[in-house]
Each structure stands twice: as structure tokens, then as C-alpha cells.
């Protein structure tokens, strides 16, 4: 099953089960069914509960917040993740704080779904990964499924269980990807697959290891779309130089499921964090600090972060590939720690 199909299925099932689930966004109504087709079929099957909104991100976020405050479970689609900047005030000074500012009289179970990510030549304002800007906003969750998770299940958890405003970060590159399945030896491709649920029951961290029992040389933490590159890099390094990388793929970005990472970090003592967002002040910076605060004595080398360059993403696809993290950046980072 493809990533986009998993999401579409989950939305169909949820809307069937729960009448308070509403879906909003630009151009999401059939027959178009949304820019990336995640919402295709919903307006036909659930008339009156799928709303086409005007092109005003601030307005529709405010509107959705209001719905959430009044007993609905709105799932708002922001067409391109780059536009989340327009929703910022409604999230930062609105949705995330109302539960507390109004004395816990109600919850704000608002889910904002949006595709981040580049590598498609869409240009500087349609290719960013801005979710790490929101790491410092108290009162929200950020979930970012990879193709090693089940996005539909995670979306379900975000809508039904989390109970607070959640940014659900999808990735353009991942939409057409087949979701990974485990074979009878417990592997996905060449890696042993394991789920870690120490921090969060519904949002697990996936662990991929070439050797099941052996200690890894490096712990690589990566989420979302760029995980595909990280896996390629790890595979290449084991073939070329027998470097053993354990890849940890969290599905929840905020709060950081730090306990899911620590065992591997303690074993390897060397950490690389890969994100598609800009390296400066990004996810890697926060996770590196958390790790070093907790298990500094186990670290052999400083933690290294790979991220996008501190520069607008070029429109040319070739240039874009060198400004966003690429496979050789990740391999160099890993080799630099050994």
C-alpha cells in the first residue's frame, strides 16, 4: 500500500466512525481531491463534512481552531508546508494556548496536515521543511511519519488520541512510496526491523540494524522523507566498508522521544542526526543537546548533524540536491565520526 493510500484510507475510516471528524483545506473537494490526492473521495462519501476553504491560511486555521474548541475534530490541510508560516500566529498565540488560557474548560484537538519537503524542483517557497520552527512552541505535538511507519495509524492517533493541536507532517517525496513491510526473517530489505515504544505507545520509533545482535558503530537518527537517503547511505557503507549503522526513525518529533534513542546511543557512542530542514537551530540541534545532557559519558565523539544549508532552496533540481542533504553528505558525516 502506498503512503498516500494509507492516509486516504484512514481518513475514510475515521470519518465513517466518528461524525465529529471534519476535513478542511484548499482544493480538497472531488473530483480534484486535493493537490496530492490525500483527501480524494472524502467529499463524495461524506457530503457536508469536507469543506473547501479560501486561500487564507490564517483564516482557515482560526476557523478550524474554533471548530476544535466546540467539540469537533477538524483535520485541516495546508497545501504546502511552506505556508505554515501564515498559520503561525493562530497556532502559536491561539490554538496551542487556549486550553490553558481558558482554565482547561475544553481541549483543542486540531490536526493540521501538511506536506513538507523538496527534491522535486518546486523552488524555494514550495520545498522547505519548517516543522522544526515549531519545536519551541509549548502545547502542541508534531508527528512526522516515514514510509517505515503506518501513516494512516499515526493520523488516527493524532486525531483521536492526542487531544491537543498536532502538526501532522507529511512529505511530498513519500506520497507515492510503498509502505515497507517486514519479511519472514524480521527484515525490511537488508535491515532487521524493530519497533521501540519506550516514549510513546502510538508513535513508535523504528530501529533498522544490519546485525541483530551486534553492537552498531554509529547511531543515525532521521525522520520523514530524508530517511530514504539515510537508509541508502547506511546500506552503501556496510557494503563498501562494513560500517554498521543503526538507523532510528522516530514518528513523533515533538515531544522528542529521547528514551527511544538512548540505548542505541549508549552502545555506539557516536551519533549522526539527519533532517531535511535547515541545520541551524533545527531538530538535530535539540536532540543533540538532549542526548549530551543525559548520556554524555557514553559519547566517544561530538554529535554531528546533517541538514539543509542555511540558504534558500534553489529551483534547479541539480542545485537543490546539493543544498538539501544528499547521500554523500550523510556518508561523510558517518565516516567523520569513526
Amino acid at each position: 500500500m502506498r503512503y498516500v493510500e494509507s492516509l486516504n484510507d484512514a481518513l475514510h475510516t475515521l470519518m465513517q466512525e466518528d461524525e465529529t471528524v471534519l476535513v478542511l483545506g484548499q482544493d480538497i473537494v472531488d473530483p480534484y481531491g486535493g493537490a496530492f490526492k490525500v483527501t480524494k473521495g472524502l467529499s463524495t462519501n461524506f457530503p457536508g463534512r469536507v469543506m473547501a476553504t479560501p486561500i487564507s491560511e490564517a483564516g482557515i486555521t482560526g476557523f478550524a481552531t474554533g471548530l476544535a474548541m466546540n467539540g469537533f475534530k477538524p483535520v485541516l490541510e495546508i497545501m504546502f508546508g511552506d505556508f505554515i508560516s501564515l498559520c503561525a500566529d493562530q497556532i502559536i498565540n491561539g490554538a496551542s494556548k487556549y486550553h490553558w488560557m481558558y482554565g482547561e474548560q475544553f481541549k483543542v484537538p486540531l490536526v493540521i496536515r501538511t506536506p513538507m519537503g523538496g527534491y522535486a524542483g518546486f523552488g524555494p517557497t514550495h520545498s522547505q521543511s519548517l516543522e522544526s520552527l515549531f519545536l519551541g512552541v509549548p502545547g502542541i505535538n508534531i508527528v512526522a511519519p516515514s514510509s517505515y511507519h503506518n501513516p494512516g495509524e499515526l493520523l488516527r492517533a493524532a486525531i483521536l488520541e492526542m487531544g491537543l493541536p498536532t502538526l501532522f507532517i507529511e512529505n511530498k517525496v513519500l506520497y507515492p512510496e510503498q509502505l515497507k513491510t517486514v519479511d519472514r526473517t524480521g527484515r525490511i530489505g537488508n535491515f532487521f526491523f524493530e519497533r521501540i515504544n519506550k516514549s510513546n505507545k502510538s508513535c513508535s520509533t523504528v530501529s533498522l540494524k544490519v546485525e541483530k545482535e551486534e553492537k552498531a558503530d554509529i547511531t543515525l537518527i532521521s525522520y520523514g522523507g530524508v530517511t530514504l537517503l539515510a537508509v541508502e547511505a547506511a546500506l552503501n557503507l556496510i557494503i563498501e566498508e562494513e560500517i554498521k549503522v543503526e538507523i532510528l526513525i522516530p514518528s513523533i518529533i515533538k515531544p522528542i522521544p529521547i528514551r527511544d534513542f538512548l540505548e542505541s546511543v549508549k552502545e555506539s557512542g557516536r551519533v549522526v542526526i539527519v533532517e531535511e530542514g535547515v541545520r541551524t537551530g533545527g531538530y538535530g540541534a535539540e536532540v543533540a543537546s538532549e542526548i549530551s545532557e543525559r548520556v554524555f559519558d557514553y559519547l566517544e565523539k561530538p554529535i554531528f548533524r546533517v541538514g539543509a544549508k542555511d540558504f534558500p532552496i534553489p529551483s534547479s533540481k541539480e542545485l537543490e540536491r546539493s543544498f538539501l542533504p544528499n547521500q554523500s553528505d550523510i556518508e561523510s558525516a558517518i565516516k567523520g565520526l569513526l
Binding site: 496530492f36 537488508n190 556496510i238 566498508e241 562494513e242
Partner: protein, 380 residues
């Protein structure tokens, strides 16, 4: 295949609207394709004969060719053949690689050892150690050996604990101390008689080694430079005369040490040595008993070794060698008698001591040995 929608990376060929080999003109509709939004008719950009590359219902990546249009039909068909072959090759390569994924190191080693990787029964990626293990199995079937550097090694033992410390001490010693050696014969008949009588007379235990230690202590009082060590350009003379006895045990480092040997009677030294040996045997050794020696005696008198050259320890000046007590015939006043003797040896640090000084030590030792014998005889 054109990219008609920004978000489409593939499109499907629905059907061809012209025959293979037909003449097309620029602008003619040649096929229908289905994108994520709709089914669209495609026009030809060129004129000529058409060779179809895509099949109906086939999903093609955007920007990949779906047809060839040109004037030379035969040439175009050859091109198509080439492209088809290329595709097959690529998918073959992929399946071969997928069949057994092995690391570079593994492939190199397998080639070197002449092993066919497909014989290995390994799930997942084959690593160098998998190849090693496999090759080991093959060799073990013949002999129980591992080849290293063309010299066959039967087995190996790790240096641990005392043996490892010993290695460190000896290497340091050889590196920092220029070792030399002098030797003289010591006649022992009289001494042996004295020791035997003493035990009978006094009922106290006294060993040959204890007498050696007490005599050695006296000798070192007279030759203080031998109870010392050199550091850079200084000779540091030890305050106390602590004599360590190097005994051959599994744990090299345990050197029972008699502290202030000068002040002790041989019977006391005997007792001390016994006490320390007991504590070792009971596995309750006391650290102070086994360290702090300023001079060593290496006792091999209970072996068949008639001469040996001990190595001076770091931070010491010399070591006394006590080999096996031997016998020879001697003509004494016309009577052929058997006398006992040993080759008393002294290894010393030649960077600040010379052979003359070392000889004096041995001579003083023999003289003191005589005196000690006399003292023991005269005790009531």
C-alpha cells in the same frame, strides 16, 4: 512521456492511435496517456515513421521515451532492440545483486581465498567475518590449525595479570639498564655442615636461602652503591636493605621481600619467608610482603641449573644469582674428597657500576659467608 502535472512523476500509456511503422506528420495525434487528472491525447512533435517503445497500460516515468520517430525505419527498429536489451540487462543486474548482497571486504576476501560466495548460507548481507568463518570451517576439516604469516601456529595464550606485568618490567629493564655479569665459585661444604648442625642443636629451622639473604644484607651494607639505582645522572642509595626473593611461581610478580634484612637473624628470615609463603598459599597475601625490594636474589638452587644470568629489575643496581649446588672432587692434603660449591653470579647495572666493584661484592659476600658460618657455629 511529458510531465503534464507538477506532482506527477509517472503517466500511463492508454493506447496507440497509430500503427507501428506508420507515417506520422508533426501535429498528428499518436496516442492517449492517462495522468493523475485526466486522459489526454498526445501530438507528435516530429514527422517520420514511428516505432513504439511503450506498451498499452504500461506506466512510464516522466521524461522517458515512449516512441522513436525518424526516416530510417530499419535503423529505428535496431535502436529499439538496443533499448530493450539495455532494460533487460539492468533488471538482470539488479536480480544478481539482490541474490547475494555481500560487502566489498567480503568479496575481496572470497576472491583471495577462492571461495564461491553462493556457497555461503548466510541470511542478509555477507560480511568479511562470514567468509572467514566459512573458510575456517573448510580448513578445520583438514587440520586443526590457523595459518598466519606462513608459520603455522598451534594455539595461543593471552598474557594476563602477573605475567603481563612481568613482561612490562623486563622490557623496561632491558631498555633502560645496560646489563653485565660477573661470577665466582663459592665452596659450601662448611656451610652445609653448619646448617645441618644448627637445626639439630637449636631445634630451629634455618635454610640455606636465609643464610644467603642475611649474608647478602651485610655485604650490601659494605657496598652501598649496590643497594641503589641510577636516575639520569644521580645514584640514589636506598635507605633500607630490603631483599626480594624471586621465586618461580605462576604469578611472576609475587616477590617475597625481607625488609631490613640486616637486622634479622637467619632463623628469623626463615620464619619470615615461611610466613609469606603460607599467606600466598592461603590466597591471603599481604601487599607489603611482596613489594618494596631494593635488591633481588634469584634462587634456582632447587633446580638443575648450574649457571644463569638474571636480569636486573628497573630501579635496582644488581641481582644475585644462586644456581644449583654442585659437587666436584678436590685433592685436600692428599685426600680426594667431594666438595660442594656453586657458581655465584651477580648481574649489575653497568651504567654506574663496573666489574671491579661487582667482583668486590662477590668477594665480600664469600668473606661474610665465612663469618656468618662461624657465628652460627658459636651459638649455644
Amino acid at each position: 512521456m511529458p510531465q503534464l502535472n507538477a506532482n506527477d512523476s509517472v503517466a500511463t500509456l492508454v493506447k496507440w492511435l497509430v500503427e507501428e511503422g506508420a507515417n506520422v506528420t508533426k501535429g498528428d495525434v499518436i496516442c492517449s496517456i492517462e495522468t493523475s487528472k485526466a486522459i489526454v491525447d498526445l501530438e507528435s512533435d516530429f514527422s517520420g515513421k514511428i516505432v513504439q517503445l511503450a506498451a498499452p497500460k504500461e506506466e512510464i516515468l516522466v521524461s522517458k521515451p515512449i516512441a522513436l520517430i525518424g526516416n530510417n525505419f530499419e535503423q529505428l527498429k535496431k535502436e529499439k532492440e538496443k533499448l530493450v536489451q539495455l532494460n533487460h540487462q539492468k533488471s538482470d543486474e539488479k536480480t544478481i545483486e539482490a541474490k547475494f548482497n555481500a560487502t566489498k571486504k567480503a568479496r575481496n576476501l572470497a576472491e583471495k581465498l577462492g571461495i564461491d560466495l553462493s556457497h555461503l548460507n548466510v541470511e542478509g548481507i555477507i560480511k568479511e567475518k562470514d567468509v572467514l568463518e566459512f573458510s575456517g570451517k573448510e580448513q578445520l576439516e583438514n587440520q586443526d590449525r590457523i595459518e598466519k604469516n606462513d608459520v603455522e601456529i598451534e594455539s595461543y595464550v593471552d598474557l594476563t595479570g602477573g605475567r603481563k606485568t612481568g613482561k612490562v618490567l623486563m622490557l623496561e629493564s632491558i631498555r633502560t639498564i645496560p646489563q653485565s655479569y660477573v661470577e665466582r665459585i663459592v665452596l659450601l661444604d662448611e656451610l652445609v655442615k653448619t646448617i645441618t648442625n644448627y637445626e639439630a642443636k637449636k631445634g630451629k629451622l634455618i635454610t640455606f636461602l636465609s643464610v644467603v639473604i642475611s649474608v647478602l644484607a651485610k655485604t650490601l651494607e659494605q657496598n652501598k652503591r649496590f643497594n641503589a639505582y641510577r636516575e639520569n645522572d644521580q645514584i640514589l642509595i636506598y635507605k633500607n636493605i630490603n631483599i626480594g626473593v624471586v621465586v618461580n611461581q605462576d604469578n611472576f610478580v609475587s616477590i617475597p621481600t625481607i625488609k631490613n634484612a640486616c637486622s634479622l637473624h637467619p632463623t628469623e628470615i626463615t620464619e619470615e619467608l615461611m610466613r609469606i609463603r603460607m599467606s600466598i598459599m592461603r590466597k591471603k597475601p599481604i601487599l607489603e610482603d611482596l613489594s618494596g625490594a631494593s635488591f633481588m636474589v634469584s634462587a634456582m638452587d632447587h633446580t638443575e641449573i648450574t649457571r644463569f644470568i638474571p636480569i636486573v629489575h628497573p630501579r635496582q643496581a644488581a641481582t644475585l644469582a644462586i644456581p644449583k649446588i654442585q659437587f666436584k672432587s678436590e685433592d685436600r692434603e692428599g685426600v680426594l674428597s667431594k666438595v660442594s660449591y656453586l657458581n655465584l653470579g651477580l648481574s649489575f647495572d653497568h651504567s654506574f657500576l663496573d666489574a671491579i666493584q661487582a667482583s668486590k661484592v662477590l668477594n665480600d659476600f664469600v668473606e661474610n659467608l665465612c663469618h656468618q658460618k662461624d657465628r652460627l657455629d658459636s651459638e649455644e
